[in-house]
Symmetry: D2
């Protein structure tokens, strides 16, 4: 079997995760090269997974004609430029989210995709989670009837450093972007209007930096349904990731995953597992699954499961949420898209 | 043991429920009389529970000096007037919610309570529910740390008739009022600001009558926490009543009650009970408990557990929600209170 | 509505429970008299529930022709004699379990029932529990196919005093008798063979008195199914009452009941409620339901739901279990019945 | 890092599973060769996982001095002979269960292990399951106090062919052997006495072949605790694998694993996932974990986690259970061990 030769650009945490998935779990693909400006990081990942080539410059990778697809795992501000360069070099692209912090660049990337005919998939891995995916499947199957309410709870186990929080673009773009995409995925519809609340309760330095760490955002979907997302930067009991879709015929809802199903009953009560700690534990299988589907789409020339429309809309919603918070009013997503 | 002699004004569904609770479960009290303009209804309840006197006119009841306390279970527009008359006749009062649809009358009722020194408890029975009460207890105990997010899901099994929906004052006052009170109970704080969404997805006639049947309302509490309530007039799987409080040290959340804990595992899946059907099933024990505490407060001259402040604020929030929907903007509760 | 006039013989714990059920929850019946050799005990119960007559001697009660049915709540050794006397006095009888510790007396009681045509129901209240009843209902409906395995876990929260344990007839007759009856109820079949293990792990004084406090008993049912019961006199987490029926098409299993559905999630784990503490909490509704069905059977002249066959077989199984333990071999129930 | 070079003898289902685990998840090891009399099977596995050498004869493998450890995944009757040959060839051995159907050969294998100083681990993978392992960990930690009752439910989703059932040695040795080992693992004690019931309810041809398909076995442990195992060859709802340990301070119990945590609530009820289908789904991670610990024991010269004592006792219990069934009496394990 000929394997799809893939290059990975960026040897940080997520580049490492993808290298592992491709090496161990996706027999149809192989990692041909990994690059990172920090060449030692690239080398470490290469040696860990037996990747035959590495280097500091992604252009070397793009220049290798035997490489058919690349994963863009570099810092966010470089995503779009590298993705465009890769497509122009003839590669199919898997691009981490967000594609860019500006709608302009995302749209430019989309134009390049269209011109070159290359595929580009955006890394919203949570769509491939076993629980969330099942909820979506039930909604899409009609088992819930017409979707009326979508609810998402998404809380991190502990807050980032105030420095990171400040530089990340803020909670709505850095953290809730996953939930915006999940909301549209679950509802099967884009969002029309956003109303955002947000406060700083977890770490005052986050508030001083102009960001929020606790937020509830209400959504009105194009299809008439309503939605709500709540985020917190800190949950004492671990990584809280639950979704619920309510429709005219019923409800589908997923609980958190624990490490075991064991319950301990003593005089003190009945104790069960906390949620798995953080995204590398909770979502590891989804990282593999999104790549498996990307590889399959490339190999069999099928549409990718998550494209630039999703990449664009999630960023637009994050911007709408921030504008809503700043101006203390509901914001039409159209205002953002047409700005 | 001398029993507290209680009169019940109104022999409808809730008057009947209270007669049952007092007769069977509250040994400290006895029902001395029940009145209803529909005298046959009064007679039916009287005979069912062995109540020695009944009649068509609540003034007969108020004139009986042996009756120390009354339950006001008449139609909403009469609540405040009867409550005031009862207090002026020297009775302590348990008043069904809402006390009135206007803040003026609620405030007038409060003035009469102060002048007469009579106790008045408002019938927010859900505060006395075993699940919600436990969540509040955990929050109040400090086990959750500082409260940051309050979430309430409240969905009825089936919609009212469009006629009822139209005459009831609308979803926010008729249905969500319970959840507004619950939110303040759980947060241990009043609400500062309300943002309401609402659509008609369940029954178009409800929308035509100017009301909504599906709604999500975001709350900002005085203590800095955020909250969200979702309501639907129709849940295919039954009466959905869940609350969640999230704080700096953890989360407490209650699931629905089913009739049994039995799970049936077959080739088709693992099936457990639906939520108990509606409020008479789900909240019966809470109706008893609120009366038990009312009787205890009267007998031992202690403060009632739910007073007119709660009665006023819940109506103010309902009005704020409706104004928010109408003007499509967040509304300060102060705007309503100072109008 | 004419009410069934009932007399209660025995004003101990269970007599009190039944008085409460009949007074508050069974409108078709009224308690006409209660007797107890300890007349003060009888008086206390009478006054608590408004029972108009009481006294020390059950014969006074049997002599009252207006009393149509009696509840035999006296000490076990007197059950059969009083039940027979009551039937001969023309009363229908509800008799607490065990009917007697000898098969002879139970059979004699059955003969009197046949001669007099009076109804006699045995107090196996757990058959009327919401969870166990649902499991039985699913088994009886065919939803589980052919029953193959029945499992019962039954553990008390704390052991009795060694004195009580010694005088009670031992674990198999005092505690497991409920489970023997439950096993036959769930399987829809009598038991053919019993193999008992039993050890004293909880309190050495129980072992010194010749009894066991921890036991596992295997059953072979007449219908070919297998069963197992485990008992302990002490469960640190409370009263553990679970049943499971496994058949060719699936399984039905009930979990314990807690006081609430609330879960507390903190850094320490996710904690939910312990099982309700003991039988008065866990089985209160079943005590009412067995009486409701008894009253209905008497009033409408229908068969009682649990009769002397069940009373006899449960005692036979307890004897078989003890013989199995003593002789360290499987015992045919026939050996006991034909002894 | 130098990797431990491992040879796999037997390219059937379990050999394939182990090849996968070693290749993907255990960086400390590599598969150097795989053999199977069916050379094509060996080749298929070799090519799937990039194993450099394969062949029909395990003696070739044993003759390779660079191979330090072997996995014996051949048919049961050959386990002991191959394991002994491997140890004599200087290899450490991981041997699938049962080591042999006779105690003589298992003892002979133990003698060879002692003479050669080689390590030998027996493949009781379920000890490494996340749920069962947690229950054991809680028991071993003292959180449960003194262990008093051990309960194991183990049911296959569908029965084997009657031919397989007949040739497999029967349910006690083929299926319940895992549960015998699990019982001793959970109790932290060997078993002293066994009483077995067993019937054929699932497939009459199994009964005609002299075997049972539904069984309950009671255990008395050396440490005084009691235990019970129930087995069925067919569970309509899937692979049912639950364990429970009850002690003086509490209980630890594991539920089945489903694929998701999602619940679907509709008018028909609340439906959650069935148990994962069969052992390859349910226990895959445990297969990896047992090998990881084997490799670690070899590389660091530490004791293996499951040795020949466990291999011997599990077979002895299976024999005791069969003898108990045949002679319809409790059997001392000593009778088997000293036969």
């Amino acid at each position: 079997m000929k394997k799809l030769r893939i290059g990975i650009i960026g040897a940080g945490r997520i580049g490492n995760v993808h290298a592992q998935s491709l090496t161990y779990f996706i027999p149809q693909a192989e990692v041909a090269m990994i690059t990172d400006p920090n060449e030692q990081a690239a080398q470490r990942v290469a040696q860990a997974y037996g990747i035959p080539a590495w280097g500091p410059d992604y252009r070397t990778l793009l220049a290798d004609p035997s490489i058919e697809a690349v994963l863009v795992c570099s810092p966010t501000p470089t995503h779009a430029d590298i993705a465009m360069a890769a497509m122009r070099a003839g590669k199919h692209v898997f691009c981490e989210k967000p594609v860019d912090l500006t709608l302009e660049k995302i749209r430019a990337t989309a134009r390049v995709a269209q011109e070159t005919g290359r595929k580009i998939q955006v890394g919203f891995n949570r769509r491939f989670d076993h629980n969330h995916g099942r909820v979506r499947q039930l909604a899409a199957s009609g088992a819930l009837g017409q979707v009326e309410i979508v609810k998402i709870t998404s809380r991190d186990p502990q807050p980032p450093s105030p420095e990171y929080a400040a530089s990340s673009g803020g909670l709505y773009i850095d953290m809730m972007i996953h939930d915006f995409d999940m909301a549209m995925f679950l509802a099967g519809s884009d969002v029309r209007e956003v109303y955002a609340t947000g406060v700083s309760l977890v770490d005052p330095r986050i508030g001083e930096a102009g960001d929020v760490d606790t937020a509830i955002v209400t959504l009105s979907f194009e299809n008439g349904a309503l939605g709500v997302i709540d985020n917190s930067r800190r949950a004492a009991y671990g990584y809280d990731q639950r979704v619920e879709v309510f429709g005219s015929l019923g409800m589908a809802a997923g609980e958190n995953d624990g490490d075991t199903t064991v319950r301990l009953s003593t005089e003190a009560g009945v104790v069960s597992d906390k949620p798995q700690y953080f995204f590398l534990e909770r979502y590891m299988a989804s990282f593999t699954e999104e790549l498996r589907q990307f590889v399959e789409a490339v190999v069999n020339d099928k549409p990718v499961p998550v494209g630039l429309h999703e990449g664009l809309m999630s960023v637009a919603l994050a911007k709408a949420a921030r504008l809503s918070l700043d101006e203390h009013r509901p914001v039409q997503v159209r205002e953002i898209l047409e700005a």
